[in-house]
Structures are given as structure tokens and as C-alpha cells.
Symmetry: C2
Subunit: 379 residues, 2 copies
């Protein structure tokens, strides 16, 4: 942790790119430092699916994300607390970020009813009625004990008409105030979430209001929901120029390698996405030369690793033929090993981005790779 006048600096910029809004930074959490730009693998309900913390650690992942919504339903907050908190539950002693549950309430649960006070929804598991307010969402996250927690926000779908978008932004701002007031755990950073769809005016007003509340960081929510890469990046760039330089910026739920490169260029510091793990479970491997679909019969007798120069556990030990065989017989090692490779692919991508920023070579690298990865992984 770096200190300034005796005060812990939660986030510091190490270097700014001269040709873009990209920044190299350092986030100091209660469970250790995080170099940014950073990618957080998703450990939805307390586990990055199929990946032991030992293997996860070896991918270079430092901070991981868990979903408040899932943990609230199972095993429940009381249980997590009695088990010693989220870090103990997951056996992960490095930083964790929890989302607020807002996104999942709208995407997973049935019959979500929202008013200015709270959202009420049916569990996607058993339909049980659950209420989440800015206060309870914050208290729950205080108790789960992640290093970074998120305000409860109202997510909007894409497309979304302006009145609905406006109501969601107003509610998100009000709720952010209530979250900030409720937040008591000094070991946790609290991030505000900017909403407003791809409406720049609404993003401006939302960012402005949240900044008055002085959050530890700012997230960009409601993106990567169907608006497309260009709309997303334009909105990100617009919003980031409004946000304070000295606070981390987190683009939630994004994205493909090209999305990440473009968003870093536009000034984003943090990312999370299910792509490496979800695709990994479906035999889809990311490589620097495009995707490999490992169920494809062309891999049957292929002794080559997924990527020749990859240093992940999977590539150091298994050929494509073995992996195809594992998927073919529904052996867990298939999903496990390809998820591991994909997480390592994302971690190597972020390490490369940080290295390029360090060496002042990011702009050229980004231009070249943005194009390449857009062609490869257009979604």
C-alpha cells in the first residue's frame, strides 16, 4: 500500500498513455495490490467454475469477481459470514469484488418489481420472494467481505426508451446516495455505477451526480447488452472523460479481447466477463490466432497444445487431441483445462497491455491488435 500524508492511496496512476486515454495503475486493496488494467475472472457463486484456487492463481489472476445475487440465494449471507467470509468460502486470499446483484435481478429472476425504494424479485431457483434495497445490498456486501463492493443500480436493457432510461438513471443516483450512506466497512472500497444506456446526456448527468458522492471508483454499467462494440466504446469514451482521473474505472461484464483493448484505450482500468470460462466450458479456446473449437474433428489426433507459446497449465501438458477426447466423453477435465487456458489468455492479454503502456508502445500495438482481434472474436 502506498501512503500519502499518512493516508492510504487506494488507487494510483503509474503512467498515462500519451496517445490515448489508457492508464497504467495500481489498486491497493485490503487483500493486496492489483496492477491495472486488470481482468477479473468470474466466480459467480463462490467458485470460478471447476478451477481450484491453486490453478487459478497460476494463471496470474489477482482479483476475481463474485455475484451477490447468487451468494444471497445460496448459501446465504448468514452462512457465508459463519464460514468466515467470502475469501474463506472461496479459499482465495487475494482481492475479490462483489457486484451488487442489480444486474442479475433483472437478467435471471422472474417477476422483478421495482419501485423507488427497492426491488422485489423471485429467486430463479425456487421462486422465493426476495427484497433488495440499496441499504440491504450494501449491508449484504459489507458482510460478504469482498475488497471492492458495488452500489445497487437499475440496469436497463438495450434498446430502452428514454423515459425508462431516465427513471433508471435517477433511481441509480438516489440508490447510490443510500448505498454510500449505508456503507460502513472501511476495508472495502465502494464503487458507484454510471447508467444511462448509450444516451450521452444521461451518462453525463449520472456521472456528475455520482462524482459528487466521491466514490472509491466508478463503474460503467448497462453496456455490453446488445448495443454493439462501437456504441459501447463511444459511450465509454464519453463517460470516462467526465470521470475523475484519480479513481479506477470499471467496465462491467465486458468483454471480447477487442472490447477490452478499445476500452483500455478509452481509459478503462478494470474488466470482468464470463467469456473465458463460459466459452472454455463449451470447448471454445481463445488464441492469438483466433478461436479453436476443440470438439472439431480436425483436432482428433493433434498433439499440439492450444497455443504453441502459451505457458498455461493446459498448454504445458495437454495436446488438442486429449482435450477433444475429454469433451467427447464429457470428462470434466475438458471444461477445466480450456477454462484455465482461456483465463490465462485473458491474463496474458492484460499483461501485454500493461507492458505496452509501460514501454510507451500501447497505441501502435492497440491499433494492430484491435483489428486482428475484432476479426477473430467478433462474438
Amino acid at each position: 500500500m502506498r501512503h500519502e500524508n499518512g493516508k492510504i492511496v487506494k488507487f494510483g496512476i503509474i503512467k498515462k498513455d500519451s496517445q490515448s486515454s489508457a492508464r497504467l495503475g495500481m489498486l491497493n486493496t485490503a487483500h493486496g495490490p492489483v496492477q491495472t488494467p486488470v481482468f477479473m475472472p468470474v466466480g459467480t457463486a463462490g467458485a470460478v467454475k471447476g478451477i481450484t484456487p491453486q490453478h487459478l492463481n497460476e494463471t496470474g489472476a489477482v482479483i476475481i469477481l463474485a455475484n451477490t445475487y447468487h451468494l444471497l440465494l445460496r448459501p446465504g449471507v448468514d452462512c457465508v459470514e459463519r464460514l468466515g467470509g467470502l475469501h474463506k468460502l472461496m479459499a482465495w486470499d487475494k482481492p475479490i469484488l462483489t457486484d451488487s446483484g442489480g444486474y442479475q435481478v433483472f437478467s435471471l429472476s422472474s417477476l422483478a418489481k421495482i419501485n423507488d425504494d427497492h426491488v422485489e424479485f423471485g429467486s430463479h431457483i425456487d421462486g422465493a420472494k426476495i427484497k433488495l434495497s440499496p441499504e440491504t445490498a450494501t449491508q449484504i456486501q459489507n458482510r460478504l467481505g469482498a475488497d471492492i463492493i458495488m452500489c445497487l443500480d437499475q440496469c436497463t436493457p438495450f434498446p430502452c426508451d428514454e423515459p425508462q432510461l431516465k427513471t433508471a438513471v435517477e433511481r441509480t443516483i438516489n440508490w447510490a446516495k443510500r448505498c454510500k450512506q449505508t456503507h460502513t466497512n472501511a476495508n472495502q472500497m465502494l464503487f458507484g455505477i454510471v447508467q444511462g444506456g448509450i444516451n450521452h446526456e444521461l451518462r453525463t448527468s449520472c456521472a456528475g451526480e455520482l462524482m459528487k458522492l466521491d466514490f472509491d471508483g466508478y463503474a460503467l454499467g448497462g453496456l455490453g447488452v446488445g448495443e454493439g462494440h462501437d456504441n459501447m466504446i463511444t459511450t465509454v469514451a464519453h463517460t470516462n472523460q467526465l470521470l475523475p482521473q484519480d479513481k479506477p474505472r470499471y467496465l462491467m461484464g465486458v468483454g471480447t479481447p477487442a472490447d477490452i483493448i478499445a476500452a483500455v484505450k478509452a481509459g478503462v482500468d478494470m474488466f470482468d466477463c464470463v467469456l473465458p470460462t463460459r466459452n472454455g466450458r463449451n470447448a471454445y479456446a481463445f488464441t492469438q490466432n483466433g478461436p479453436l473449437r476443440l470438439r472439431n474433428s480436425t483436432h482428433t489426433c493433434d498433439i499440439n497444445p492450444i497455443e504453441q507459446d502459451c505457458d498455461c497449465y493446459c498448454c504445458r501438458n495437454f495436446g488438442r487431441g486429449s482435450l477433444r477426447h475429454f469433451f467427447n466423453i464429457n470428462e470434466m477435465l475438458g471444461p477445466i483445462l480450456v477454462s484455465l487456458h482461456n483465463i490465462r489468455f485473458y491474463q496474458r492479454l492484460m499483461a501485454k497491455i500493461r507492458q505496452m503502456l509501460e514501454k510507451n508502445e500501447f497505441a501502435d500495438w492497440a491499433q494492430e491488435n484491435l483489428k486482428r482481434y475484432t476479426d477473430y472474436f467478433s462474438g
Copy 2:
């Protein structure tokens, strides 16, 4: 490898127990030495389900088993060969034993038709007709490349009438001759399999005929199929006193901790069984104080590891509450971690047996623990 008069000693007895038929030994394979008595985790189709070789290695497992029947169906022998052999497929550079496929033909496939020449059966996957003869079973295993391979035998169910048992024994002996004649890979040991159900006379004649063929080791097949612990151990003891002292003895597919202790006492050196992994996948954990069923709600908020003094990866990192949660949400880490613990439990059991033999304390220890484990894990 130990040498005697310039010849590699494939198996050596280090110490014989003075109060029982138990032996402490060393098996020298092409992929390294194996201390016996040894337990081999089962990697059916080229993977110990859900367990990376890195984690498997950390359990202390040295030699693992793979099933010829499964590998023959998928990915096929040509494919395994083109992938560089079974060790490469599995990313396991320590010893491997393959069974001959005989047992699975009778237990898994439909419409198995047997005659003196071969067995023909329908694949349990797509019904495809496949022929397996002593010659092809041996050639297939030669090509798979395991360190120890098994003769094709005819397994009998329990109970089984004497004429059927007798035919099976005769066929097993004839087939063993043909396997021995066919076997060409000098890097592989070939084991004969003694059949005969719980009929001591048939076991005697089968063992006698096989011994004339001078195999690298002798397996006891057709046990642990419903005859019960006492019948099994009586048959094992009877057969072992006939088998040569200087060759390893392998009790196939067995068993519970009590089965293993009793069989070691009766002179068995090698074991394999799906219990630790299959039970692990079903949330059943072996402990020195009896089984834990981790789906049980009593574990919900329990921060204790499965076993307090266990040094496995699971117990060093996860509490019972986390494990129960993983099973509850169908997270792969549940099956993975409890399988890992159970494999380590079996490896520690074998290490303890070897230690007790080394210290001349096996007999007392066996008596005490045989009783205890019989009470705990009666099946």
C-alpha cells in the same frame, strides 16, 4: 531400477511380515518405481475424473489405471498412438496399468457373445459391434503403452454355477497363453489373471496353469462382485499361498479400506478401485472416523475441513461448509475436491500400511483398523 546379474528386477520384496502374508515391495516399471502395497486411482478413459495430473500427483498417487475397453471405443487405439501414447494423452509421466477390457465387456456392453476364440460385443455408446480376442487385447495394450498390461480373461458373475465357472477358467488359461505369445513390448509387464470365483479348486488349477506361463505378475480377478468380504478374503488367501513369492499380486477392483487391509494381510500388493473417486463425486468423503456425507445440512456452516489432520489440497484450503455449498449448487469443485481428498485418504492408508510393515507393527495395526474400518465403511 535394481539389477541382479545384469537383469532388471521388475519386482522385489523388501520385507515380509512375520505375522501375516503381507509384504513390503518395490515394483520397477518403465516409468519409475512403485512402492507396494499400492493403490491405483482409476482414470477410466484417460482421466481420473475432474483431477488434473498436478493435483493427482500431489495426492501421492504414483501408478494409475486406465480401461482398455473405454479407450478402445473413444478415442480409439490409432488415435491414442498418434497422440503419442497413453501417458501423453493423460499427461501422466509416472506408471500406468491398463486392464484388458474383459471386465467391462461383461459389465457394460450389450449382447456380449463369447466363444473360445474371442468375445464380440456391442459398444455401450453406440452399439457398434467390436471383437476382442486375446491377441487383439494384447496388441491394443501394447500400442496404448501402459507400463503394466493385463491378459484378456473371462469374468464370471456371482453367484455362478460350476460348469460356467469351469469354462471361464479354461478359457482364461487358454487366452492367457495366447496373450503371452502375442505380447511383444519389452517395456511392459504382462500380468496373468486368476479366475475361478470362490471355488478354491478352480482357483488352484487356474493359478497353477498361469504360473507355468511365468507372468510378470498375477492378478486376482472376479472378486468384489457380490461374494462378500469374507468369501473374498478366503479366496485371496487361498490363491496367494499358491502364487510365487517373487511376483506382484494384484486384487482387481477392490475395495473398501477394510478390504484392502485384509487383502494386504493375505499377501496382496496392488489394488485399484473407483470408490474414492465415484464416492467423492457423490459428496461422500472417507475419513479415519468414518464417512462424511457432505450434502448433509449439518455441514452448512461448518468451517472444519473434512479431516482435521489431513494434508490434502482440499483439507488445507476448504471447510465442509464450502464443499456442501459447491455440491448444493452443482459446482464442479465439489466433486473435484472431495475426489482429491478421497484419493489422498487412500494414499495415506497405503503409506500407513507400508510404514507399519517397515516397522514390524503391521499385524496389531491391521487387527485394530480392520475392525474399525469394517464398522465405518461396510459398503
